[in-house]
């Protein structure tokens, strides 16, 4: 089935060869979690790929109906556990949109700070794991992985100081944020960012003058703009394909209109273009965090009084879709509220899920080694794909 479909996409140079069906995953060193790609190989060349997902399904959307507006944001973290701030924010934005809840300016700025720091941390992990996919755990890839993780640790230290948690935060809540900046946090944040910025220069120097890295990324896994729009990919993938689409710009939320930043666009659509987009995003995110810290307004961090019980926040009847630009692209949350403390229905639009759908279109025709390079450049997080 998938085999026939792929043949339409790519014409191979030879026919009649014996084909080998090989499973990559669900347990595989570069499965980025639990992903199963059933590859049909002709020699080393991939003739077709059948992507099997669902190994990490945890009934998130059903769970959303059973947990209250106060409880769920902490659980929303667990969809995309590498960028936990993103899905929390999408959820509370949807709830606020239905209930027309005001969010004080300070909370909006704190949300932007958290979201952009999260983007930097998430891209650090992406860079490390992607290089490990291409370079191997027993090679240069592991070296870059450890470097990138070292910087991510510093960012996680910031999150720990802010929320008390390093991975899954529960920072956002309906009406604002749960925590204000602790004393000295802004200075720590600034010095960390200055350090990370310097390190990003080092990564670029290490990778971009490296002919092997160029050979592995340039011209590999090209997504045409048409394909990108048809599949509905978002985030660095669509910007790598020459379409300047960024929700922070297209439909600003949480006071993004106040900030100066550039939306990087590359036209090649290959792994290299996606790499370049993310490298620029590192710097743009750092810039946004600096602006947010500089212009942080005084005032309350939430428009609602502190909750005494988890059922206390009630959202009036209505429905809304809120979307945010996560590190991996558009993360959307569709909520239907019935006036009670829990939503009636919730639906996630995961960025990784939609981005992953492009794989069967771009992988056929590449070598086995390119499969992992392309997978890594798509940067899926399977918590978000399977939910």
């Amino acid at each position: 089935m998938a085999d026939l479909e792929a043949r339409r996409v790519i014409e191979l140079g030879y026919a009649g060869n014996e084909r080998l069906v090989m499973n990559m995953g669900p347990q595989h060193p570069s499965a980025h979690g639990v992903f199963r790609a059933i590859l049909t190989l002709e020699g080393e060349t991939v003739a077709a790929v059948d992507a099997v997902i669902g190994y990490l399904h945890r009934c998130h959307e059903k769970l959303g109906e059973t947990l209250t507006y106060v409880q769920y944001p902490s659980i929303a973290s667990k969809t995309d556990y590498v960028a936990a701030m993103t899905s929390e924010l999408a959820y509370v934005l949807a709830a606020e949109r239905i209930g027309r809840v005001e969010v004080p300016p300070r909370a909006r700025y704190l949300r932007v700070t958290a979201a952009e720091l999260q983007r930097v941390a998430s891209h650090c992990l992406w860079l490390g794991t992607w290089c490990m996919d291409m370079g191997g755990a027993l090679g240069g890839g592991a070296t870059l992985f450890l470097y990138a993780i070292r910087e991510r640790e510093m960012l996680l230290d910031l999150f720990e100081a802010l929320t008390g948690a390093r991975l899954l935060y529960g920072f956002h809540q309906v009406g604002g944020t749960r925590y204000d900046l602790p004393a000295g946090w802004a200075e720590q944040c600034r010095s960390t960012l200055a350090f990370v910025e310097k390190r990003i220069d080092e990564y670029e120097a290490m990778l971009e003058d490296n002919p092997f890295f160029l050979a592995r990324t340039q011209g590999v896994g090209v997504i045409s703009p048409e394909l990108a729009q048809e599949i509905g990919v978002s985030g660095p993938l669509i910007r790598g394909s020459g379409i300047a689409y960024d929700i922070r710009r297209a439909e600003p939320y949480s006071s993004y209109e106040d900030f100066e930043f550039r939306v990087p666009v590359e036209t090649a659509g290959d792994c290299w273009a996606r790499y370049r987009v993310r490298m620029v995003e590192f710097r743009e995110s750092i810039k946004i965090v600096r602006q947010a810290l500089d212009g942080l307004p005084a005032g309350p961090i939430s428009s609602r009084p502190g909750v005494k019980s988890v059922g206390q926040v009630r959202i009036p009847k209505g429905e809304a879709y809120a979307r945010v630009e996560g590190p991996r692209g558009e993360v959307g949350c569709y909520l239907i509220a019935d006036g009670g403390p829990k939503p009636y229905r919730m639906k996630w639009r995961g960025a990784s899920f939609s981005n992953l759908a492009v794989l069967p279109h771009i992988i056929p025709g590449h070598k086995v080694a390119d499969v992992v390079a392309i997978m890594g450049s798509v940067d899926p997080v399977f918590g978000e794909v399977d939910r």
Binding site: L138, G141, A369
Partner: protein, 327 residues
Amino acid sequence: MTSPLRDLVAAVVLLNAVIGLVTYVTLLERKFAARMQSRIGPYRVGPHGLLQPIADALKLMMKEDVVPARSDRWVYNLAPLAFLLPCLLIFATIPFAPGLGLADLNIGVLFFLAVSALEIVGLFMGGWGSNNKYALLSAMRGVNQIISYELPFIFAALVPVVLSGTLRLGGIVEAQRGLWFAAWPVVGQAAFLAYLVAMIAAENRAPFDILEAESELVAGFRVEYSGMKFALIQLGEYAHVLATSYLGALLFLGGWLGPGPAWLGAVWFTGKALVVFLLVTWVRWSFVRIRVDQILAISWKLLLPATLALLLATAGWVAYRGGAGVA
């Protein structure tokens, strides 16, 4: 002078010395890589992790020996030995100091190159016998790659042979009394560089480790091996790397030549071999792996013509200067 008994004792001593050295070379690599990656590396077993290789070996020996149910048992079980034997055998011809070696053959270089290429048999047996698709793909890649790189490797190694006019390894060292071949302008340096590249590729070290390629093929041809068989393969691989490091030090860096008394020769030689080894390790931990078609392209389109031209140019120059043994 050479009685069979004496040879036997010497062989046993050499074998154990080599295995011991190889075991500790893994620790050296791990420490070196750790420093590159701002880590500490093995530290818990013994002072500074010095007993780590022994702990690893013990662990591997005690592990269950799993044979896949549908494997080709004979081939599968023989493969580690077929892989290890040539890797250890090549040490026989290396003279570690004048007179200190098992057999300084008059065709030493030829023996070394021929026997070292035999490892491909064990490798393919392992890939085939495991009845595993990853292993099979890896073995196919391995044959491709080793055949492609064996030629530039040989051509690069022949440059010192042409310069010194002998295939005897001891003779090549003696020819470098004046100047190491790696220090010879252009010819020597180009040959040394080509030797290093071809060596990395022929040893399947990153960035040419498509054979192992654990992010694609999990562990390549050894994916089904466990316990002692895995240890043998690992031992063979490191022994091979070490042997080619010794050969590189011998062909280009003057072997045992160095200041100090004569008995320091073996120490000098080992030190130089470890320098070559660390060079290779440095490359290994800095680059991303390249693709199988790119690896073959590098060999056939660049390295092979370049080394062939280099060899011919050297030979022409030697002939012009009046025959072999100009050095």
